[in-house]
C-alpha cells in the first residue's frame, strides 16, 4: 500500500487539519468531537443545513461547507459513520435559531447515528428535520434490503437545500425542497478498480484487468454485477439507462446531468462519459439545462464514475444557480 499518509490511524484528523488551514475563509474545524463548521457560523435566524458520513468521499461533505450550501459537516472515520455525539455537537453548533435540516445518506450506520444524534439535541430544544438521500438505482430489491443507498445525488440535495436556507426559507420549506430533490435525483456508478482503506491496507474487492463492477456504492463495496470492460459508450449506457428508466423521464423534460469521478479517474475521461450521456439523453428528447462534471463524491482512489440525473423545474434551477462559496463548489 502506497499512500501519502504518516499514520493511517490519524489520516482523517491530519487531513482535516490541512483542510482547515487551506480554507480558513470558509470553514472552521473542531475536534473532540470532530466536526466542520462554516466560518462565523450560521447567520442568526437562518435554517442550518448539516450533513455527514464516513470519510473517504472527499470533497463530500466537508468540502461543501460554506455560504449557500452546508453550515456544518460531520466526518466519521474512513467509510465509517460519525458517532451520535459528533452529530449532536454539529447540529447544536450549527443551529442559528431557526432549526436544522440534517441531510442523511441512506446507509444503515449513517441513519442510526444521525437518528441518535438528533434525539440527543431535540432534548435540548433544537428543532431538527431530516431528509434521506437514496438515489442509487443499483439497489433493485429495495423492499428486501436496507433500501437504495445515498450516493452522488447528495450534492444536489445539499446545494439546493443550502440555497433555500440562504434565501431565508423556513425549516418546513427547506425540508420540502430537499425532499423534492431527493425524489427527483437518481444515480448509478461503475468501478474500474477497487480502493484501499488506509487502516485495512488491502483493496475491498478484486477486479481482473478486463473487468468492471457495475452498480457500486461509495464505500468500496462490491456492486451488482461484473462485466467485461467495454469502453465509455457501453458503460455510460449501462449507467444512464437504469437512471432514466427509474426517473421515468420523457421527451421535453429538463434535467441536471452530473458526471462524478470516484477519485482515481482523470477529468478528461469524465468528460468523455459526459459527452456520451448527453448524446443519449438528446436521443430521448431530454434537455440537459445544467451540468456538473468532477470528482465530488469519491471512494478514496477508486477508478470509476457515476452518472446522476436530477429532474429540474424553474424553482430548483433557480436554487441550483444561487451563489455558493465552499472549498469544493463555488459560483
Amino acid at each position: 500500500m502506497k499512500k501519502l499518509l504518516d499514520d493511517p490511524a490519524q489520516a482523517v484528523d491530519d487531513s482535516l487539519r490541512g483542510f482547515a488551514l487551506a480554507h480558513a475563509d470558509a470553514v472552521e474545524v473542531r475536534f473532540d468531537p470532530t466536526f466542520v463548521l462554516r466560518a462565523g457560523g450560521t447567520p442568526p435566524g437562518r435554517v442550518a443545513v448539516v450533513s455527514g458520513g464516513g470519510s473517504g468521499h472527499e470533497p463530500l461533505h466537508a468540502g461543501f461547507v460554506g455560504p449557500g450550501m452546508l453550515d456544518a459537516a460531520v466526518p466519521g472515520a474512513v467509510f465509517t459513520s460519525p458517532t451520535p455525539d459528533q452529530v449532536s455537537a454539529a447540529l447544536q453548533a450549527a443551529d442559528g435559531g431557526a432549526g436544522v435540516l440534517a441531510v442523511v445518506k441512506n446507509y444503515t450506520g449513517d441513519v442510526l447515528n444521525f437518528e441518535t444524534g438528533v434525539e440527543l439535541v431535540e432534548a435540548e430544544g433544537i428543532e431538527v428535520a431530516s431528509v434521506l438521500v437514496n438515489d442509487d438505482v443499483a439497489v433493485e430489491d429495495s423492499l428486501f434490503t436496507a433500501g437504495r443507498r445515498g450516493v452522488a445525488g447528495t450534492v444536489a440535495v445539499e446545494k439546493i437545500a443550502g440555497a433555500a436556507a440562504a434565501r431565508g426559507d423556513d425549516l418546513a420549506t427547506v425540508r420540502a425542497l430537499a425532499e423534492r430533490v431527493a425524489a427527483g435525483v437518481r444515480s448509478m456508478g461503475v468501478a474500474l478498480t477497487a480502493c484501499t482503506v488506509p487502516h485495512v491496507g488491502r483493496p475491498g474487492f478484486e477486479l481482473a484487468d478486463d473487468e468492471v463492477e457495475i452498480g457500486i456504492g461509495i464505500h468500496g463495496e462490491p456492486g451488482r454485477h461484473r462485466v467485461t470492460a467495454s469502453g465509455a459508450h457501453d458503460i455510460t449506457q449501462r449507467l444512464l439507462e437504469p437512471v432514466v428508466e427509474d426517473l421515468g423521464l420523457t421527451a421535453g423534460e429538463q434535467v441536471l446531468l452530473f458526471v462524478n469521478g470516484m477519485g482515481g479517474t482523470p477529468l478528461s475521461e469524465l468528460y468523455v462519459v459526459y459527452g456520451r450521456a448527453r448524446e443519449m439523453l438528446a436521443e430521448r428528447g431530454v434537455e440537459v439545462t445544467r451540468s456538473l462534471v468532477g470528482s465530488l463524491v469519491t471512494s478514496l482512489e477508486m477508478q470509476g464514475a457515476s452518472v446522476t440525473v436530477l429532474r429540474l423545474d424553474a424553482e430548483l434551477t433557480e436554487l441550483w444557480d444561487a451563489p455558493v462559496r465552499t472549498p469544493a463548489l463555488r459560483w
Binding site: A77, E115, T145, E221
Partner: protein
Amino acid sequence: MTVLDVAWAERWMQTAATDVRAARDELTELDRRVGDGDHGVNMDRGLSAVVERLDDPALPPRETVGQVLRLAATTLMSTVGGAAGPLYGTALLRASKVTDRPDLSASGVVSMMEAAVEGIVARGHASVGEKTMVDAWQPAAEAAERAEDAEDVADVLRAAAEAAAAGAEATVPLVATKGRASYLAERSAGTQDPGARSSAIILAAAVTAAEGRDA
C-alpha cells in the same frame, strides 16, 4: 446465591471487553464476508474505552447497575461508529433506565433484557429472522422471562446467554434484509451475522462475570 450488583456489572463490561478482543479477528472476518469488515475492530475499540472509563479514578464511583450500563452506553455510542455504536448504545441506555438500583433480582434481569431488546428494535427497525443483532437479543429476552422463577439469578442470565448463542448460530443460513449485508442478498447466507455473534459473546460475559470469574 449469586448477587448481581455494581461490581458484577463492572466485571461484566471488563469480561466483555476481554472476550470481544479475543474474538476480534473472528468478528472482523464475519463482517468482511457480509459487511465492511470493521465490526471486530470497532467493538474492541469501544469496549476498551468502556474499561478505561471504569478504571478512571477521576470519575465518581457507580452506585447502581444502571449507572454502569449508562456509562457503557454513552461510551459505546461515541467510540464504536458504524451501525453497532448506536444499536448497542441504545440497548444499554434503555437497560440502564430500568436498572437504577444497587443489585438486580430475577425480574430485574428480565426487565433489563426486555428494555435492551426494545432499544435495539426501536433504533434498527429489525425483527427476528432478518439476520441482525435482534436474532440474538430477542430469544435471549424470552429465555430470561421463562427462567424468571429460577432459584439463582445467575440461571436467568445463563438461560439468556444460551438462547443468544443459539439465536446467533441460527443466523448462518439466513438471507439478510436489514443492514449493509442486505445488499448482498442471497450471498449473505452461509455466514453468521457479526452483530448477533458479538451480542452472544457479550451476554455470555454477563454469566462469566456472575460466576465471579474475572476477565
